[in-house]
Symmetry: C2
Subunit: 329 residues, 2 copies
């Protein structure tokens, strides 16, 4: 009921009477009043004016299942929500929920992670209150070798979703191929895709997203390459609306992806946000390292680059890293 | 201590004195005597003769961690053992243990499964006391696209391990490509490989094995294509020694596989056990179905077949099924 009342307060914008809420939800006015009190205690600014009703004037940066539910406008992405004040890692939670049969689109979000992980098992710093830690469960009926493209679908959705939920359009949110999210040339968010497969069949895919939202201090070793929404936009940012916006973009982009089982419907949007596009990059492969000019991605999500001798190459995310010629991008 | 005493009784063959056991294990003779009593209660036939000591004359079909430990002669395969009288599925248990950081080679075995699964989520019948249900955790440092070959490594190990633990050599244990285990033309065991991966990195691989040991009744729909060790050899078979033998073969075959990260060191042995070899098979692909003559596998584990027009093809397990021209094999 709390998420429904939150949703009504938000959608009304102005005043809504306790009578109207109680009729719509088939609960007593006392029950409505109790929930309003709870919301106020949690930090929501809800005015109560005699003969007018309730009006929400401000929302704090609340993270809770109810807050997320009240903001979610999707059909399946993030409709089933599990929220943790603290957990080991949302990717581990989603993998476990996936093994237990949780539905496609299940979202796990946490305020704090005690064992956040990046690629290849590297640690991912996860302080409380300052970041988004979320993972979504997908059950695509596609061959396992096509699943890595979902990482790029998520990267696009994160970049679009963050951009959409900010009031200003600058600085722009961009993508560093294949799946880092960039703001002002620094890393804003990372994505970790894991999957459980059989030889020719996907059990489930877990895509974890970590977004630096209100962090203002980074460890020494990443200070020059990492940033946050708060640092770049100059004000605190509410996390739940960002999550809801990412889910909305993901739902649409995923459905576009599934139609062709490749990125042909998304590669234009993706390439337009690509920070590497039309820049010189270093391609760091296992056998070979070379400088090239990045042109965009193809429908498989591979990066197309032009070597110095003019030949075109496609590079696959599993095989190489890409760096800027002068640093991170 | 129980598994150590079991091991000593087995390895001695004849009599071993309580004094000797208590000295070797640094425990009191009363403690030794208590364990011997326990073993007798569990059904082990242990004679106690004054001035001679203890002697084990017969082992029942006990499944327990101690029984398995007392039989294991490996360095890592099945050295860390988790045993369940009943569990949902040993593959699910191992996937969870893998997520929690359990070591390479961890073995889960169960007397009964309530949610045994075959490929693509199909149910796998798992009555108690009659079969082997086990799964092993592997942490190979190889690219994810090479992991499907591990299924064939396990198929070879299961066929060899069963063969080695039986006293008679006939009927022979064979393999139906890629990973069904066959006896007298009927299915004796199945293998289900699952893995948890990142784009270019394996978190862990779970290989589950179900072996029909003492089952004598099968459901109507598989009666003509399934059999058990008991039915084919005409006597009850102890499960724990079969498991230990499979682990022993796996340890050696896995290490051979890792040297080249392919099946070049195993394909000859595998092909020699291949029931399809030199037989006509039906290749059932998504787009095409045709009859061909099976020749063996290559070092990638693909089946090499000769079409009726004489051309050679390699078929990949993820893409096709293989049937006999006149039925299951």
């Amino acid at each position: 009921m709390k998420s429904e009342i939150l949703k009504m307060l938000r959608e009304t914008g102005g005043y809504i009477s306790g009578q109207e809420i109680s009729e719509k939800l088939h609960v007593s006015r006392t029950a409505v009043w109790k929930v309003i009190r709870q919301l106020q205690e949690e930090g929501y600014q809800v005015e109560a004016v005699r003969n007018k009703g309730y009006r929400m004037t401000d929302s704090p940066d609340v993270m809770s299942r109810e807050e997320l539910e009240s903001l979610m406008r999707t059909r399946w992405a993030g409709k089933n929500i599990v929220y943790y004040d603290v957990t080991d890692s949302t990717n581990l939670r989603i993998r476990e929920l996936g093994d237990q049969g949780a539905p496609h689109g299940t979202l796990a979000a946490a305020d704090r992670q005690t064992a956040g992980r990046g690629r290849r098992g590297r640690a991912w710093e996860s302080p409380p209150g300052a970041s988004i830690y979320m993972s979504i469960l997908l059950r695509p009926d596609i061959p396992p070798d096509k699943a890595p493209m979902l990482t790029l679908v998520m990267a696009l959705s994160v970049a679009e979703g963050i951009g959409q939920s900010m009031e200003q359009t600058q600085p722009e949110i961009q993508i560093k191929w294949p799946n880092d999210i960039i703001i002002n040339g620094k890393k804003l968010a990372g994505i970790l895709t894991e999957m459980s497969t059989q030889v020719d069949f996907i059990n489930h895919v877990t895509i974890g997203v970590g977004i630096n939202v209100n962090i203002t201090e980074f460890p020494e070793e990443i200070r020059s390459t990492a940033s946050s929404l708060c640092l770049e936009y100059g004000h605190k940012v509410r996390r739940a609306p960002v999550i809801a916006a990412v889910m909305e973009r993901l739902e649409e982009n995923y459905e576009t992806f599934l139609k062709t089982q490749d990125l042909s419907g998304l590669m234009e949007k993706y390439s337009s946000l690509l920070v590497n596009k039309d820049r010189d990059v270093l391609i760091l492969g296992a056998r070979e390292q070379y400088q090239a000019h990045a042109l965009g991605i193809n429908r498989m999500g591979e990066l197309i680059v032009r070597r110095e001798d003019g030949t075109l190459e496609v590079v696959y995310a599993g095989e190489v890293s890409v760096r800027g010629v002068y640093g991170y991008i």
